[in-house]
Amino acid sequence: MFDGYTSSELMSIFAMQGFAGLSLFSVFVLMAMGLAIIFGQMGVINMAHGEFMILGAYTTYLTSGFFQSYLPGLFGGYFFFAIILAFLICAVLGALVEWLMIRHLYHRPLDTLLATWGLSLIMQQAYRSIFGAREVGVDLPEWMMGAFQVTDLVELPINGLFVMIIALSIAVAVYLLMYRSGWGKNVRAVVQNRSMAEAVGINSAGIDRATFALGCGIAGIAGAAFTMIGSTGPSSGQAYIVDTFLVVVFGGAQSLIGTIISAFGISQAQSTMEFFLSGSMAKVLTLLVVVGILMLRPEGLMALKVRR
């Protein structure tokens, strides 16, 4: 497979493949971070997570169109605006969904599964009715397209770099929020022992709502980032939801670090195997390994020891 290439060509191929792996890693991190907060910290199974991501993507599409029509001079920077808008819109919708539906179902995980599955179907049909069943193309500004020429042979796609930067920023922001802020302390208190947390005056209902909204907001940012690399259509969310749950469960539902580690593991395994085998086989083998490990260690890679 590798004969006929100079060593510098091989080095550049490996560099690009390593980058592809890191790119996939950032995609997984972005997808899984929002769900890890909701599923991991709150125990709520949100089957509509993919649709929240697509809501972020559609927001980006609308922002792009708006800037093209009314503010063409600022089009180059519309993406940052779109990310913020995607976060806000998805967070608001998330808070609304939590208030209307989720808060009644906290001790009934199977019912939240069903209810959020129904929500995902409703959202998909809403997109179909509003935006049409076909996928929409999101225009990117010139500076975001194409590749960054590092050396003669190594080319790194710019939007891949962008996704990585966004993923890194989100991961750091979530870490700071959860582990270094007062609000984060309240969230962890509610997760570990709700009644005691309420006894010391923490508004657990408000915390729940804000946490759900945060998770959905992050999903929105992920969706905005994905308009650069994938399609935006009513059922595009379905392509992401399975991998997202896989990453979160494999990492240990309650641990954000575990999510990151599992995202890294799965993405590297998949992208390396894709390089040496065919795409479908790589997916099959990755899933087999994940299933095997989960059978031996059902709580996932990093299980938090929590006093029950």
Binding site: A133, R134, Q149, E155, I229, S231
Partner: protein, 422 residues
Amino acid sequence: MGTTDTNASVRSPGKRLGFRKSLMTLAASVMLATSAQAATPSTADVNTTDLAVTDDTVTVGILHSITGTMAISEIGSVQAEKLAIEQINESGGVLGRQIEFVQEDGASDWPTFAEKSRKLLRQDNVAAIFGAWTSASRKAILPVIEQYNGMLYYPTFYEGLEQSPNVVYTGQEATQQILAGIDWAVKEKGAKSFYLLGSDYIWPRTSNKIARKHIDKLGLKVVGEEYYPLGHTQFNSVINKIKLKKPDVIFASVVGGSNVAFYKQMKAAGVDFTDEKPLLLTISVTEDEIRGIGGDNVEGIYASMKYFQSLDNPNNNEFVAAFKETYGDDMVIGDVTQAAYLGPWLWKAAVEKAGSFDIDKIREEFAGIEFTKAPEGYVRIHENHHLWSKTRIGQAQVDGQYKVVHETEELMEPDPFPEGYQ
């Protein structure tokens, strides 16, 4: 009182049916006698198999995905079939009857296609089904339509290796599309090495098998063959592999939403198809798909089809104008959409030649039926239920349209079971 009532109601079902039957025969003969329209053949003459035919109407079925990952591709077919039906109705209908249709959603789920086709044939008794898109959906419908003796008009280009008495294939099969495309790449572009890339289901796999055999026959090389699940969105690894292997031609049969991700990521990786290094030849990207992918992501790729919206002939100019008038100015028309448009017209021609809606009767008339008003120019039905048609190669432009760069001089004969390719 109770017993007499029950006795009265328990009349033998046979007798009651017999009474109803004779009443209907009486009504039918009255209708026959008073039918003044000599031009409209009577229902009893044209429909002896209990299809949904009345004196004024005939019912057909439309079965495509309008939800799910295939919706992006199949909606055009639905629009084309409805347009054809509307135009046929305006010109007097079929055997003097207006066409009504029942539309069902296959939802990009193959078992649903089987279930809905059964419903259309058993409950709605449709005279024809215009439907399916992926080979998987057609394979799901096949046993149902053969069991209940319906007729499916199938619009998509596909891998061949099939010839059902209950299907009319209005799209190209593999030899017409794939072999012609590869021959063009070899002859006109001097291609020597190929990388085969497709979605993971029957059509790309069989297409690549046929392509590989042909490439081997020509003494050229296949340097890679990959499949990704439908809906897959991360193509960075295969893009790196393609950069490593440096093929002359990427032969792409990626389908559905994955197309968008693939071409966007190719572009982001710095691949410029207008350089033609590598050249990308696809059999699965029509004007419909480009709408979702974006013209600047596919600029420079080549596609092997029998129809492009940019074809310049009087039939097509009329067709495109009518399509845009009905559905909007920014509509695009792909190869499958045009093939779907042919379906109702070919059915009408067969019915009028046979003078009947009965499936067995119209089947006898298929071979040799021509359609000279086809937007692609001219087609003729072959005995193997496929169409004689020309093959064209087009290059994708930034505005989402294809520029035709090559056209076969003669109509290509359909050969779903080519020797040496199975």
